[in-house]
């Protein structure tokens, strides 16, 4: 995968290895779009894709001394991104709850009958469905819906990026809506027993 940019990238990598933040910013800006698109394609979740990229760039910077010896920077970035994505997918593969959440997040949004269940309101149903998510996601949702905090305020409070807060809210809302809608139907049937 050698191309015209390779030579230039190699030079940037050498500078990063010496601790040059400008060079790192250059690489960051040049590759973030492609790597994000890759993580997005492989997971379908904006939240996970952002997590993957954060990990990739932390890894790049913390082990920057290795970068001096990298021949094809693009491939290097690809491989660490790929491995991080695989880590996430394995984690999902090992946990039925995460797999279920990913399935819902990836599936197209249904019709808008969702208003029948006011997600803005706290109810035991929402609470139960929420409790299957990570604590951080629950907290973000609660601070937003029940405490009325803005995305910026939540990000500040929890030390997260604003985009993460926003996307966690989008995905959590979708998860709750789909869970409540689709899992309610079968149970309702129980209320309409048949007597022969």
């Amino acid at each position: 995968m050698t191309d015209v940019g390779t030579y230039e990238d190699r030079e940037l990598f050498r500078r990063i290895a010496r601790g040059d933040e400008d060079a790192f910013r250059h690489i960051f800006e040049q590759y973030r779009g492609l790597l994000f698109a890759f993580a997005m394609k492989m997971t379908g979740s904006t939240v996970i894709a952002e997590e993957v990229l954060q990990e990739v760039f932390i890894k790049c910077w913390t082990s920057r001394t290795e970068l001096a010896g990298i021949d094809v920077p693009r491939n290097y970035l690809f491989v660490i991104t790929r491995n991080r994505i695989l880590d996430h997918l394995r984690k999902i593969a090992a946990d039925q709850r995460l797999l279920n959440q990913l399935w819902i997040i990836r599936s197209p949004e249904g019709d808008s009958a969702d208003n029948a269940i006011g997600l803005k309101e706290s109810s035991s149903l929402v609470e139960k469905a929420l409790s299957t998510l990570t604590e951080q996601k629950q907290l973000i949702f609660r601070l937003s819906r029940y405490e009325g905090l803005s995305n910026g305020e939540i990000a500040e409070k929890l030390g997260l990026s604003k985009s993460r807060v926003k996307n966690v809210l989008v995905e959590t809302t979708k998860f709750l809506r789909q869970t409540l809608l689709h899992h309610i139907e079968p149970i309702l049937l129980l209320l309409f027993f048949r007597l022969f």
Partner: protein, 396 residues
Amino acid sequence: MNTLRGERIKELFTRYTSNTITRTEMEELFGYIRDGRNDPQLQEEMDNVFRELSKKKHQDPEIDWDFMFRKAIGANASPMHVVTPGPWKRFRGLAAAAAVIGVILGSVWFYKNFINSASDTGGQQVAEQTIQPGNNKAFLTLADGSVITLDDAADGTLSQQGNTTVIKMSDALRYQGSSATEGEILYNTITTPRGGQYKLTLADGSIAWLNAASSLRFPTAFTASVREVEVSGEVYFEVAPDARRPFRATWHNGGVEVLGTAFNVNAYTDEPTVNTTLVDGSVRLFSESSDVILQPGQQGRYSQSGSGRIVVKKVNTTRETAWKNGFFEFNGSIESIMRQISRWYDVDVKYEGNTKDIEFAGAVPRSMDINSVLETLETTGTIRFEIKGKTIVVKT
């Protein structure tokens, strides 16, 4: 690398990235991801995705890039604040429209124990008295007759059976061998008690999920021309494709023969019929007197007491295999429902009054404690339950 499996992974992967994958296929793909042996191929598929993406221009998504960059270089690394949850306005607006009440009523029970959430507090006392649902446990009988209890065995290599290594990984067991070799065929048996379920990966890569009160006898390596296993109770199979060696599963009065497929066998001897449901692929189902080829979505059913004549009908496979995904699919008489409950909660059932004609339809998560399940059934108003120790009395 098994090329048939390779093709299958490629196919699933393409459907996954183009978002045309079905739920079952996604489960299958993530099964391959879980199974570390497929990593080289998964990496190759990811290479291709990346190569394709590299050819295109990408829009800068709306991500807080500045934050990410700063965090990467460790500048202003935002400390993680610990936030104590405030008093959530829990019941605000519960007075929803009357139309919604029915939904909530039915669902309160549904969510009551939807997931045995670790964050759930205050349930300790109740847990002592209520009968808890089953969990992942089983016994493994090795070729030499020794028995390993699988709920408390530590993760890692459990045993060496011939050329095959038996590995326990969290809640599943895997047989991993050098490719088929000559030699003595060793048989192991995995048995789930009432209140147990277990997942097992056989030496050929086929996966079997055992429901409660079931067993599977299988060779530790598949060296013969037919991959043969014996089933009792209920088992869901995802058979690894191998055109040269058919896979045959037999039970007390029948069996199936397949090449590579996913199917569920319910052959409990206390059920009136033996039901085989084909999810994917193709199987030949045989009873003692007849045989039939099933198509995906079909169920072959024959009576335990009759002539063995097989009746084929179209079924909802998701419902028929709901147990594997953690649900009871109740559809039919109270007796059939109570048989499922008795196997999963390890309880006995007695009937008082005429309960014969009561039927139910619906789904309930298997993670619920028994009280919640019975309460849900009671909401229909036709039936009542009394729990006496480990016995459930059903009353009209």
